[in-house]
Point group: C2
Chain length 304, copies 2
């Protein structure tokens, strides 16, 4: 009998819960709106208690909206921390699930969990060091390095790195409320819309918007390649649904690196180096299942 | 009896070899010029065979000039690869040492090994995720993440990331032969000298060169903080011997991040977050001892 896991994709507006052993064996799934922590977490718990067909779930993984504390050594591990979302600030989310179900609980950011999902069942299967990016209303990034998610001090905030900005060619000041023209401020969906006064998906593929967009995306990706030396870079999110961006970004990354990183992955096989995600909008909930699997394995290893 | 390790700091012009159990217990040390691989490696082997006072060394760590292959899964692991240095291209450095001495051999880049040394005995003791930078004739960086060195596809090349460059304020085109105005091209020692037509150490502390230098260093460091979320950033190398740069870089990093990373380490305790190395010019050879210690532990774990 395959072990069963619970996954929660906890977004700011809705929760998606699933019981599964993997992507081909999803036993149950439910979605409901995010209201108060008490009500929403209780509904998730009730779902887990009723599902599985009598087979107990071994662990739960939670991909949570933030900011959160994902550090298992911290006294506030598993908390949603100082979020502006009403009622949710300083909520012990993982603790509530662990106490109610009595199983190990994994807890991480939405983008880190999606990275884990793509590593387990998606576009980064078999790799131990890779990056998952989502380019949408913001730019978020998760990194798996030597098989483990990178957390460090808190968790990465790759979207807020700075890249070259040629103000003469692009006088748009950037849309980030904190940094102005950081990577996200120059290249996320809202920047596209504010710069060209129309939504990105309405711009034709030959519009100059896309060359500029590919340029900014490529600067950010090149920096990540140089800092982390990933074996692959996965680019998802609403903006990357414009699939014509991929060849443009790949070519610009090669131009920017200018042959410096002498790896066939970058020099010859870039079509399989910078790729779209495979799990699509399933990355969150499947990643949460993968996170639960890891939490169970870690608990078993600690008992041994 | 403390276990003894051998360390080699293999530079392009000289080798430093040591036998030690740690920084307070260095039993022997020798330096000699880097000539042909046959001659230089033989001299290192002769040193290790004669030292230790009868006590066998458990493993050897090598911090090598590059480019190298540090991937233990690769068929050319332990090789100096396509270096322009005469005689050294495609040399099986680690293999020669392992076959002669019959002990486990660790092999990595000079900057990665220095990072390991600072983590074991220096400015990053007790941390599991940190960055070690050297700002000198180039900019190099090593990252320890979750206690392991980051390699991925090859190894990081942090010095070649791109940062904002205001051409009006600083028309200097950058000194990197591959990328022009990448981070290293704008901020390493040769850039300072070329921009101001005098060597950095001859510029007085109130010269405008330093505010610009701190600005570039802070942009690069801020990007690394956002990508890797390190618990500490160690900045060494010749340029950072201008100690007045540290408070300037710290202040600019805070201004650039603009409060976005809500960690006391950055908001309140930045004096102990961005720091000089503690091991100084001992980081290479002591790091090699730390790398040997890891190689021995790994071999023991694999036998168990």
């Amino acid at each position: 009998m395959k072990p069963l896991y619970g996954g929660i994709e906890a977004g700011g507006t809705k929760f998606v819960c699933a019981v599964a052993s993997g992507p081909d064996d999803i036993r149950a799934e439910e979605r409901f709106p995010t209201t108060t922590p008490e009500e929403t977490i209780a509904r998730a718990l009730a779902f887990f208690e009723q599902q599985g067909g009598g087979q107990a779930i071994q662990a739960v993984g939670i991909a949570s909206f933030g900011p959160i504390d994902p550090d298992p050594r911290s006294p506030t591990f598993g908390y949603v921390t100082n979020t502006p979302k009403p009622h949710w600030a300083h909520t012990d989310f993982a603790g509530a699930v662990r106490r109610a179900l009595g199983v190990p609980v994994g807890f991480d950011t939405d983008v880190n969990v999606a990275a884990l999902g793509e590593g387990r069942w998606g576009a980064a299967q078999g790799l131990d060091t890779f990056i998952y990016l989502t380019i949408g209303t913001g730019i978020g990034g998760g990194a798996v390095i030597n098989g483990e998610l990178a957390h460090g001090l808190m968790h990465p905030e790759m979207g807020h790195t700075r890249i070259p900005h040629d103000w003469q060619a692009d006088p748009f000041p950037g849309s980030c409320s904190v940094h102005g023209d950081c990577w996200e401020g120059l290249a996320a969906g809202p920047a596209l819309e504010a710069r060209w006064k129309q939504r990105g998906e309405t711009l034709p593929p030959d519009h100059p918007a896309w060359a500029l967009e590919a340029d900014y995306l490529a600067y950010g990706v090149s920096n990540l390649v140089l800092v982390l030396s990933p074996q692959r870079v996965i680019m998802g999110g609403g903006v990357m649904e414009q699939a014509h961006l991929f060849p443009m970004v790949r070519r610009r990354v090669q131009e920017i690196l200018n042959g410096y990183v002498k790896s066939p992955a970058l020099l010859e096989e870039i079509d399989s180096y910078i790729v779209p995600p495979l799990l699509g909008n399933r990355a969150g909930v499947l990643g949460a299942i993968a996170l639960a699997e890891r939490a169970a394995q870690r608990a078993t290893a600690q008992r041994a």
